[in-house]
């Protein structure tokens, strides 16, 4: 049963507000007082997935859900989708534009970084039909 649900809008190509949803997620988690390490991991996942939407996604939404077991992040967008998920999970692989790279983004570390920090990651995507990321961070330490 979910105890808390919050959603945040993400605007495509809005680099000025990019990262704000992740900061909000971070604030909520801190306010509740989770373990700093779990907050750090969730913040990294939120930030990287938000940046993916800003860069590739078209408009989208980040939904934070909490239950007694885990922190869940659902990121939906209406963008171009991920053509090859396995490839996208490789470090250094990126389809970011020259412009993105000039701003210091698009190093191809986004999805690999999410994978590294999440306990659970599911990527639902088809080329042209947007992407849906489901990210989970367990609250109980194994």
């Amino acid at each position: 049963m979910s105890l808390l649900k919050r959603s945040f809008e993400i605007k495509a190509r809005d680099f000025i507000r990019a990262g704000e949803a992740a900061i909000e997620v971070q604030k909520i988690l801190k306010n509740i007082g989770f373990d700093p390490e779990q907050i750090r991991r969730a913040s990294i996942c939120a930030y990287e997935s938000e940046m993916n939407v800003v860069m590739h996604g078209g408009d989208g939404e980040l939904v934070l859900t909490l239950d007694t077991e885990k922190i869940m992040l659902d990121i939906n967008d209406q963008g171009s989708g991920i053509e090859d998920v396995d490839l996208a999970l490789q470090e250094g692989y990126s389809t970011a534009s020259q412009e993105d790279r000039e701003m210091g983004f698009g190093a191809g570390m986004g999805l690999p970084n999410i994978k590294k920090n999440a306990d659970f990651l599911e990527i639902l995507s088809d080329k042209g039909a947007g992407a849906h990321l489901k990210i989970g961070i367990n609250l109980r330490k194994e």
Binding site: L4, G19, Q26, I32, G33, F34, I44, Y47
Partner: protein, 434 residues
């Protein structure tokens, strides 16, 4: 040694003059931990954690919040007393006053031992370079490293960014190494134990006023005993400087050590990929970024809560921008190559001389008595309450913003009627019905 949050309130270095307080909201809105509440037209309470940043005193325009002026009786010379001025002091006496003159001026005041911090800063700087190099080779070492020098930044990290504590290298700050060096040297010379040596630091920093927080658990050589503000000795020192007849060399560093206290001064000597950030809100913005895993490619970040670094410290006398201009001039004059014995410092480093045993975790993380589901429940209630508030963020209710008022209402420390907008709205609706 860990401390309870209660040690922080009220802050160890601000005094509140209630007569001067007119109940405006400036300090309350400036507080980064949202600790201040204003009730009944007065600064009422410190609810949460004070990290001694000094923003409230800096913001107060009514003269109601002031830094505690430190006492001068600590300045009585004794053969076992070492004076260690912060390098910021070199920027406080105008042009044509070189570091050596200032150190001699202190000596002329009767202090037998004056220890120049700028030279030590250059040694610590090189030790830091070695530490960075060593850690870049480790696969999972945390980066960017965050400077341990600003005590408020360390407290801010403890309180709001505890996951970043491991980014602070376990190296002592120059002021701590100065204490260590002089305790060692002088105790050997005077034939006493290191603890019998007194270390008096002359500081621009109000957060260093309470050294109990800083010098606990330093191992064999304890840290600084006492500190006085630069402002409390400025006048008398100035007189002594004017009468100086130069005969001794007490200052040995290059421009790197001299400029250490300005924003960018610590990293100026590091031949690595570094950043300098100063000002409370800028520092918070960067810590948020680091916590999201950004800036990993940066080796070291110099974070200072005061604008323009320690030159903007509350206990300074000179304007921070003029002070910076003076320091930059001195940096050019003395050059930017550290004047240290590199092999000797390396040997000291390998022997662990620069390490600190101090646990920087200031345990101000108040463990909430509520379970996680209860805390989430509280947050949901706060969110519902927040919807009833106008979002003007005015602070007239006595809480710093609508979010905090909502929290205070849920925690039973305030009522919705404290909000003037909510109150008027309800009265109006009551009148319509009646």
């Amino acid at each position: 040694m860990s401390e309870s949050p209660r040690n922080f309130k009220p802050s160890s270095y601000v005094v509140i003059d209630e007569k001067q307080c007119n109940g405006c909201v400036l300090c309350m809105k400036a507080c980064p931990t949202k600790a201040i509440r204003v009730k009944d037209g007065r600064l009422a309470s410190i609810e949460g954690v004070c990290i001694d940043c000094g923003e409230c005193a800096r913001t107060c325009t009514k003269g109601a919040i002031k830094e505690i002026a430190l006492k001068k009786d600590d300045l009585t010379p004794s053969p076992n007393l070492v004076i260690s001025p912060s390098t910021v002091i070199y920027s406080q006496f105008g042009e044509d006053c070189l570091p050596n003159d200032i150190l001699l001026g202190l000596k002329r005041m009767g202090f037998a031992y004056v220890h120049d911090q700028s030279y030590t800063s250059e040694m610590v700087n090189f030790a830091l370079e070695l530490y960075i190099k060593e850690n870049r080779k480790k696969p999972n070492a945390p980066f960017p490293l965050i400077s341990p020098a600003c005590p408020v930044v360390v407290r801010l990290i403890s309180y709001r960014f505890p996951s970043l504590l491991k980014h602070i290298p376990p190296l002592a700050t120059p002021r701590e190494i100065v204490a260590r060096e002089s305790r060692k040297r002088l105790s050997e010379k005077n034939g006493c134990s290191p603890e019998e040596i007194g270390i008096l630091h002359i500081t621009p920093c109000a957060a260093l006023a309470d050294f109990a927080k800083e010098s606990a658990s330093q191992g064999k050589y304890p840290g600084i005993d006492k500190a006085v503000g630069i402002n409390s000795i400025h006048e008398i020192l100035k007189k002594n400087i004017q009468e100086i007849d130069v005969d001794t060399v007490l200052h040995h560093s290059s421009g790197i050590g001299i400029g250490w206290g300005m924003s960018g001064g610590e990293i100026a000597g590091l031949k690595r990929n570094c950043l300098a950030v100063s000002g409370l809100h800028e520092v918070i913005r960067y810590l948020e970024k680091i916590e999201m895993g950004l800036l990993h490619e940066v080796d070291y970040i110099e974070c200072r809560v005061c604008p323009e670094g320690c030159l903007g410290g509350p206990f300074t006398v000179a304007d921070k921008h003029q002070a910076k201009y003076l320091l930059q001039k001195l940096v050019r004059m003395f050059g930017v190559e550290k004047r240290i014995k590199y092999n000797y410092v390396k040997k000291l480093y390998n022997n662990g001389w620069f390490l600190t045993e101090r646990d920087r975790t200031v345990s101000i993380d108040v463990p909430s008595p509520l379970s996680i589901p209860d805390r989430i429940e509280r947050l949901n209630k706060v969110q519902e309450t927040l919807r009833l508030l106008p979002g003007k963020e005015c602070g007239v209710c006595g809480s710093p913003d609508c979010q905090t008022l909502a929290e205070d209402v849920v925690d039973g420390k305030a009522t919705l009627d404290d909000c003037i907008f909510f109150h008027n709205q309800r009265k109006k609706m009551g009148a319509q019905r009646g």
